[in-house]
C-alpha cells in the first residue's frame, strides 16, 4: 500500500511561493485501481510525481507499506516501486530498437545478464510486442509506442503503475487496447493502477476516484458516489456521463430510478421500469 500523510508541495517562483498541493491524505491499497481527476492546473500531475517518488513533498510523507505479518515502511523508489507512464510516448522512448528501449531502465540495476534477458522477454510477451522486438520505436503507431513505454516501466517490476493521461493522444482503438492491457496487468499480476485522466471510460473502471481542485483533495470515493454528488461534480469540473444525466431526468418522474453510469445500465433500468 502507498500511504500519503498530510502531503503538501510548493514551488518557488519569482512572484513568491505557490502552493500546488495542500494536506493530501490518501491510501492506495496494493492491486487497486484508482483514478485522479480535476481541472487543468489542479495538481494532478504533481500528485502523480509525488506518489511515484519523482518529487519529494515540501511537508508530509509518502510511504510504501509492505510485508506480511510485520509492516515494513519505506520510501517509494521511483521506477522500482512505482512506474510512471506519460502522455506522449515520443518523450520517453530513447533507444534505437524496441528491445533496447525496454532494457534501458534495467541496465541501471546491475542485474545479471540472464535476468535482464528474461525480464525484457516477459515484458515483450505481456504487452504482445514480440514481433516488434527489433523494430525502431519511431516506426510504430502511437498505441504501439505507448505499449513499449509501458513495457519498459513493467520490466522494472513495480508494484504500482501510474498512467498520467497515457491514452489521451491515442485513437479509440489504440486507447481501448492499451486500457485492456493495463486492466489485464492489474488482474493477472496484481499491479496497482493509478490513472490521471480526463476520460470517462477510465474513471468508470476505477474502484476509487480522487477529485483534485486547487491542490486539495475534494473527494475520494467510488465513481458512483462521485457522480451522484453535485458539489463534487461542479468543483471537479467533471462532465456527467449522458446516462447519468438521463437518470436524473428519469428520477423527476420515477423517484426510485437508479443512478446509471453507462448506456447499458440505463437501458436495463429503463426496461425494468416499463
Amino acid at each position: 500500500m502507498i500511504r500519503l500523510d498530510k502531503v503538501s508541495y510548493q514551488i518557488e517562483t519569482s512572484a513568491g511561493a505557490v502552493q500546488v498541493l495542500r494536506d493530501i491524505d490518501l491510501e492506495l491499497p496494493d492491486g487497486s485501481i484508482s483514478a485522479i481527476v480535476g481541472p487543468n492546473g489542479s495538481g494532478k500531475s504533481t500528485l502523480a510525481r509525488l506518489v511515484s517518488g519523482l518529487l519529494r513533498p515540501t511537508s508530509g510523507s509518502v510511504h510504501l507499506l509492505s510485508g506480511i505479518g510485520s509492516l515494513v515502511v519505506t520510501d517509494v523508489r521511483p521506477g522500482l516501486d512505482v512506474g510512471l507512464v506519460f502522455q506522449n510516448p515520443d518523450n520517453q522512448l530513447v533507444a534505437t530498437t524496441v528491445e533496447d528501449d525496454i532494457a534501458f531502465g534495467l541496465e541501471n540495476l546491475e542485474l545479471p545478464h540472464a535476468e535482464m534477458v528474461q525480464r525484457v522477454g516477459d515484458a515483450l510477451h505481456l504487452l504482445g510486442l514480440e514481433q516488434f522486438r527489433d523494430y525502431p520505436p519511431h516506426r510504430l503507431s502511437g498505441g504501439q509506442k505507448q505499449k513499449v513505454a509501458i513495457a519498459g516501466v513493467l520490466a522494472m517490476k513495480p508494484s504500482f503503475l501510474i498512467l498520467d493521461e497515457a491514452t489521451s493522444l491515442l485513437d479509440p482503438t489504440n486507447r481501448r487496447e492499451v486500457m485492456q492491457t493495463v486492466l489485464r496487468l492489474n488482474h493477472e499480476l496484481g499491479i496497482g493502477i493509478i490513472m490521471v485522466t480526463h476520460l470517462l471510460d477510465e474513471v468508470l473502471v476505477a474502484s476509487r476516484v480522487g477529485v483534485l481542485t486547487n491542490g486539495q483533495l475534494a473527494a475520494w470515493d467510488s465513481p458512483r458516489a462521485i457522480f451522484s454528488n453535485p458539489v463534487v461534480v461542479k468543483e471537479g469540473d467533471l462532465v456527467l456521463p449522458l446516462s447519468t444525466r438521463a437518470s436524473f431526468l428519469m428520477q423527476e418522474r420515477w423517484t426510485d430510478f437508479p443512478l446509471c453510469l453507462t448506456p447499458e445500465e440505463f437501458a436495463r433500468a429503463a426496461c425494468q421500469l416499463i
Binding site: L169, R175, D237, F266, I274
Partner: protein, 287 residues
C-alpha cells in the same frame, strides 16, 4: 466557394522500394461555412490530408482546389492559398516563442503585412473570440498560462490572421472537460458570426457528434464515408469497421432499442438526446 479534392493520391517515396500510398483516390468536398469533422484511426491519412489543404504537401496525382484555385507550388498561388487556409497543429503551445501573448499572436499578422492598427485590432478580436480578456492577458508571457489558456492563445494566433478556412488537429486533446467545450463552442460561434469554415480532426466521437454536422471518415488512405455525421453514427457496422467508436448518445439509443424499452429515442447528439428523452418521459407520464 469550397475546398475540393479530386482523385488525390499522395505517395511517400514514390518509385522507391518502400513506396507507400498515404492517400489513395481521395475525392471530397467541403462547403463554405461548414463545421466538418475528419476522423479515422491512427495512420488513416488524416494529417497527410490536412497538410494538402494549404500546400504544406502537394499531391502526387490529382487536384486540391481551394476556392477555384488549384494548389501548386507556385509562389503566387501558395501565398493566396495560405491566406485562406490556416492550420492549428497538435499541441500548438509547444511552438510558443514570444515574450508576451501580444507578440505571439501578432507574429503571423505581421508576416502577412498587416498595418500596425490592423495587427492591434486583429489581436484584440482574436483574444475575445477565444474568451480571454485582452487587457489582462496580452502583456503576460504565454508560458505563465495554464494548459487550457495556452491552447486558446495558440488558436487565437491562427484566428487573428483572418483566414476563412481553419483546420484544427486535435485541438482539445489534454484539455479538461470545461475547456474542451469552451474551445469548441468558441469555434462554432466564429463559424456563425464570421462565416469561417471549421475543419476539426478529432478522435473524440462525442465532440464530433455534438459539433460537426458533416464528417469525412478516412480508412487506410481512402474516404470510407462522407456526409452527415448523424448518418455515419447510425451505421454501427461502418463505425466499427473504420476503427472508431459510437458516441455515448448513440450507444444509449441502441441499448434502449436492443432491450426493447418503450422509451424509444432517436439516435442523435447528446443535447438533442436529452430533449428527446424528456419528451418521451412526459408522454409516458401522461399515459
Amino acid at each position: 466557394m469550397s475546398i475540393d479534392l479530386k482523385n488525390v493520391d499522395y505517395v511517400y517515396d514514390s518509385g522507391e522500394p518502400f513506396e507507400y500510398f498515404a492517400l489513395r483516390g481521395i475525392s471530397l468536398h467541403i462547403d463554405d461555412g461548414a463545421f466538418v469533422g475528419i476522423v479515422g484511426r491512427t495512420g488513416s491519412g488524416k494529417s497527410t490530408l490536412v497538410e494538402h489543404l494549404n500546400g504544406l504537401l502537394f499531391s502526387t496525382r490529382g487536384d486540391v482546389i481551394v476556392d477555384d484555385e488549384i494548389v501548386s507550388n507556385q509562389r503566387a498561388v501558395l501565398a493566396k492559398v495560405r491566406r485562406r487556409v490556416g492550420i492549428v497543429f497538435q499541441y500548438p503551445e509547444d511552438q510558443f516563442f514570444a515574450e508576451t501573448i501580444f507578440e505571439e499572436i501578432a507574429f503571423g499578422c505581421r508576416n502577412y503585412g498587416f498595418s500596425k492598427e490592423q495587427v492591434d485590432e486583429s489581436v484584440h478580436k482574436a483574444m475575445s473570440i477565444v474568451g480571454l480578456d485582452p487587457e489582462r492577458f496580452l502583456p503576460l508571457s504565454p508560458f505563465q498560462l495554464s494548459g487550457g489558456e495556452q491552447r486558446r492563445v495558440a488558436i487565437a494566433s491562427v484566428i487573428a490572421m483572418g483566414q476563412k478556412y481553419i483546420v484544427l488537429d486535435e485541438p482539445t486533446a489534454g484539455l479538461d472537460s470545461g475547456s474542451k467545450l469552451a474551445v469548441l463552442a468558441e469555434l462554432e460561434s466564429l463559424r456563425q458570426t464570421a462565416n469561417v469554415t471549421v475543419i476539426l480532426v478529432s478522435h473524440n466521437m462525442d465532440e464530433v457528434a455534438e459539433f460537426c454536422k458533416q464528417v469525412i471518415v478516412l480508412d487506410e488512405g481512402t474516404v470510407a464515408f462522407q456526409g452527415s455525421t448523424d448518418a455515419f453514427f447510425r451505421d454501427a457496422d461502418l463505425v466499427d469497421r473504420t476503427g472508431l467508436e459510437l458516441p455515448e448518445s448513440y450507444r444509449l439509443a441502441r441499448a434502449l432499442k436492443d432491450c426493447g424499452s418503450t422509451l424509444t429515442v432517436n439516435e442523435c447528439s447528446t443535447g438533442r438526446m436529452l430533449d428527446s428523452l424528456r419528451l418521451c418521459v412526459s408522454e409516458q407520464g401522461g399515459a
